[in-house]
Subunit: 474 residues, 3 copies
């Protein structure tokens, strides 16, 4: 271990440096650190838990699927092929995981100051027992250590799930999914609770790349005539019911380019749908249709109780040179300026005052936290504020979230933490980071005598555990 640097995790990491504030943060954190993890929104693969096969190798676990990691290396000139990202055309990409690992180790410094670095160090040390910081000199040794661990039973998905203290993990599936993995998990007798979330974008967004195939398929599997508005709605209701019954689903999720909503008279909605089915709709029609479908989903939620999540404002697959070669979600997705107060008005006029409906709003445009999201959620009974999302799911991002949301929206219109990840081994670290950042924020309020300590302990429990269960009806 000469030439290398020890790796450890400081027990006070992420707490403010001021000793008094840090001591309070530590106390608060100690009261919530061992609470179960509730992960109500994310993108892990349910087949992991259905099959319980070991993870293939360190590169397949940490690099190839993690767009946070490979985007940063790509931005500094490392070709995605050298990081093993598969090409759509089957063309050459690095398949030797050890070589991929070498490239990663050479560029590990690029992640300094990013949350990915903290998530990785946590996974390496706390989960995998690595005691050196990754660098080119020890890349092979660390690869071997991780690889050996991954071959043991304790590092299979189900064992990790249990070790991580996960009480519930939600995956995300589209309406065409048959939920075979969720059903297999249920049938297996394993106690781990892995539920699905209903994400209908491929059948509600006319501009979704798979809308044209997905719509008829929706008709096929539901037996409904999805060329008619009524049949289409019935098919969606049918799948929601299926997701509830066969996937433990408690929520829907809507990833739209904007927060635009509509509440058209049904005849108009039917006419718009007809236009779209006939392929005659333009971009404006697509926007209106997506907006109408948010209101339709809210209406269905009033019947079946599913909690709505709205994730607007991401521009996806924006770099054709990457998307055309490597496919979607390859790090070329980013936020855009997003408007809420006018965009949501039709939906909120219709259902914002419902006490039995929960709509969780997310944003990638932080200028909305204090300006739009907190004021809206501090008024409408149906609205809740989703946690800091995606790029903002980071120490500074989560701090800004609390600083900008709390005073107008309060703590009780927020819904705990979402890890939103496909990187399974980052889940404990992400939840731990969230608890540490929230406890640091609370500690500052206590140290500044803006919140009494006994109340801070109560809020810490709520932010780490209670609110997510209430909001997502778990």
């Amino acid at each position: 271990m000469t030439d290398t640097t020890p790796l450890s995790l400081h027990p006070d990491r992420l707490f403010p440096a001021d000793p008094e504030t840090r001591a309070i943060a530590r106390e608060l954190y100690n009261s919530v650190k061992d609470l179960p993890i509730v992960s109500p929104h994310g993108h892990t693969d349910p087949s992991w838990f259905a099959s319980d096969e070991p993870f293939a190798n360190p590169a397949a676990l940490f690099i190839i699927p993690d767009h946070y990691v490979f985007r940063m290396l790509y931005s500094q000139g490392v070709p995605l092929e050298e990081l093993g990202v598969p090409r759509i055309d089957g063309g050459w990409t690095q398949t030797d995981p050890r070589k991929i690992w070498h490239r990663f180790a050479e560029n590990f410094h690029l992640l300094r100051g990013t949350p990915s670095r903290m998530w990785l160090d946590h996974a390496f040390h706390a989960i995998l027992g690595i005691t050196e910081r990754l660098c080119p000199a020890n890349a092979d040794r660390i690869y071997d250590q991780i690889d050996a661990k991954l071959k043991t039973d304790e590092f299979r998905p189900r064992a990790l799930f249990e070790r991580f203290g996960i009480e519930l993990l939600a995956t995300t599936e589209d309406p065409l999914d048959d939920l075979r993995h969720h059903r297999a998990i249920a049938a297996s007798g394993w106690k781990g609770r892995v539920v699905t979330a209903f994400r209908p974008d491929n059948v509600t967004d006319p501009e979704h790349p798979r809308f044209r195939e997905a719509l008829p398929e929706l008709g096929r599997i539901t037996g409904e005539d999805v060329t008619t508005w009524d049949g289409y709605l019935a098919a969606l209701r049918n799948r929601r019911r299926y997701f509830i019954e066969h996937g433990g689903c408690t929520s829907t999720d809507h990833g739209h380019p904007t927060a635009h909503t509509e509440n058209l008279p049904q005849e108009e909605a039917a006419a718009l749908f007809g236009k779209i089915v006939r392929g005659e709709g333009d971009a404006n029609d697509a926007e209106r249709f997506r907006g109408q479908m948010l209101t339709e989903m809210a209406r269905m939620s009033l019947d079946d109780g599913l909690v709505m999540q709205i994730h607007p404002g991401a521009l996806r697959s924006q770099n054709p040179a990457v998307t055309n070669v490597f496919g979607e979600a390859k790090g070329d997705d980013w936020p855009s300026r997003t408007e809420y107060v006018n965009a949501l008005k039709p939906l909120l006029n219709a259902y914002g005052n419902e006490r039995n409906l929960t709509i969780i709003l997310f944003t990638l445009d932080e200028s909305n936290y204090a300006r739009e999201i907190a004021p809206l959620a501090g008024h409408y009974p149906a609205l809740r504020i989703g946690p800091a999302w995606w790029f903002h799911d980071s120490p500074e991002g989560m701090r800004r979230f609390r600083e900008q949301v709390t005073e107008t929206g309060g703590f009780y219109n927020t819904v705990g933490f979402n890890d939103d990840t496909r990187a399974f081994l980052s889940i404990p670290s992400r939840h731990d980071m969230s608890r540490r950042v929230d406890c640091s924020f609370l500690a500052r309020l206590v140290a500044e005598h803006r919140l009494e300590k006994d109340e801070a302990f109560a809020v810490a429990q709520d932010l780490a555990y209670n609110l997510v269960r209430q909001a997502y009806r778990l």
Copy 2:
């Protein structure tokens, strides 16, 4: 008092935790904490001071009129009727103040981390002598304590005004107001200085809900022909004069949906007015007319010396389910994205360089602080920067204001604090909060050796007292 928690106000509340910075903040604060309160903009009811009647009961004082409080409870499912908010149609609403108080006490935790909680605790403890934190178990006892106090002479409006150390309090009236309460106060011989501010939105904004009735009424009380442009302007000049002479008015206030201004040739302005008077104007005409009226108001200010306040960007009464039942300003108002640099250009081209004109700009869109407001006010002699407004009139909001405004706009283009409140008992707490947050900001500059201590003392006096008097010409 078993089962309850003591209530006290920590002398260091709102100061940074770092001991050195806190010590400086404390020193600075001690030098300004006893300065008189100058409240140049707000929404208290002048009849309180004219009649000096006692406040009715705790619910009528703290809950029913405070939209910060009832909006948060409403957002978590408490019906406004249960909080005693009166219905327009006279339908049922809770009229037993004690029952309203119970609902409030049950939900008091919802205000954790909000400025309302700090304002309430301050009023309860520092003003009303309550020594327990409000909770369901002590709700009745605290209700009785407050109710008893309110029946005593020391808790009548004028006695409180004097006890609070208020040097001047501005209310806000529209041009049709006859200022009877201000005249009654003046005639009463009481020394308290309660002045009015001239807010003409109901006769300058064609989309104001009362524009159609207000305009002819303006003609009636001024004897001017308000169907002509010249008569209309004369009527406004007349009422400004009346407000100055009978209400001690030194400022106007303009609450527009945007910061749009126009500087049309007079013939064009007259034609636009004609269109609006005839009811032929559309939304675009309304926007242009409001914009033109800001420039007309600036022109009149050059004559009569009234300071202009522009409060743009609030969307008001946005939830029909609330507005239609309970009326305006019931917590369904929020910010929207607001643009200044282009919107203000016509007005600034005309009068931005005037040294005898003061235009105070406010924003609910904090992204403008550093990007637009501070750069504009750091150039134009006529412009000043209003304090953190509404939702941002909070510890974090006021901190962001100073952090984002000071470096480009300086301290001397700001104008002290506005409490902007209709909650009379929150006034001492709000000014105290502002002084604490400003002194904390200054203390950080001193601790980081970015400002000398002697200068920080001078600036603290300016921010707490001198600048507001200068800017509002008091």
Copy 3:
């Protein structure tokens, strides 16, 4: 020296107050404080270094050319004439530098809390040896002290350049500049490295106030037919080559009102150019043409290696009452809301994936740091993030930059510091401020155990010295 206050610079200035964090900041800072200054972008006058004449007097050095200073005084009612700003029409302006200095001293308090105040104090004390804080009582004495220093050889431009430890200083010239001063410097045998940057706005922006004269002049000096698209492009290539060969140029700079880009087919671009040359283009054509020229410049950069800087979103010379009398860049310039992700798409689709191209993006709209700039630069190999710009080149501004950029963009997609100044004596202070703020940010990461200390030392070196040299190819 009675009645005056001592002036000194605290060694810990700008470091966080928390003792542990401060100690780390100090250590980090000590490791970079003596590194050479690399100034890759700014607006100093190359004739200073060509002629090496002494600076005329204190007012000519510190007030008359510094729009940060005179804008703040103007905003508080001081006429620009009294600050010696020359009028275009040759009308009266104060020419007695001592009287200008008096006005400055009387209003020196207006700069409290601004970076200008820190830059000035640094220049006064660390460079000029002044030991009293400027005030009306000592204004004459300090004037005399500075004036005497300026007459000595140690305060001539080249001596200061060397004393400041400047390794390289870039000025900014337009394509019509013959670079005589750069050539004179080279011919003089002086070792100081003063290079140019190629800023073609006057020949690429049809709305530039000098476009109409500049375009034919470009044709004249290059011998190309700039009435044709091909001739025009050839002329630009010619001047880029000239700037590289005769001015040591390594970068271009583009100051556009927006970040709009286009990538038109060449025939369409040629047609658009024709329309503009014939004076038939409208505002939309101008916007499209500027956008097209960014893509053309990127294409040329792929050939000749010049690094591109894009500075979008400044609205310039906005106050006619100032511009018409005093000319451009007189403090009436400010940011506007700016959009990047859609605006840059044509350019990024064409060249964003190039590893041999560097495009440095700046913004005056801080809401873009975390929302658009960091996500883009964290993906595209060609993109880098320029430092906090203009109004945001301040302690709070630079802190927000690191806090909002680092987690998504990383440190290695940033490019060190730009002083961007025409105030030569502020250069050491500005670089010192940047190093102190960056080290403070790093110290917080270390104190919060988000970055290991050895890595923080490496990053501090990179931010202060290595990244700027790499990014600007120096």
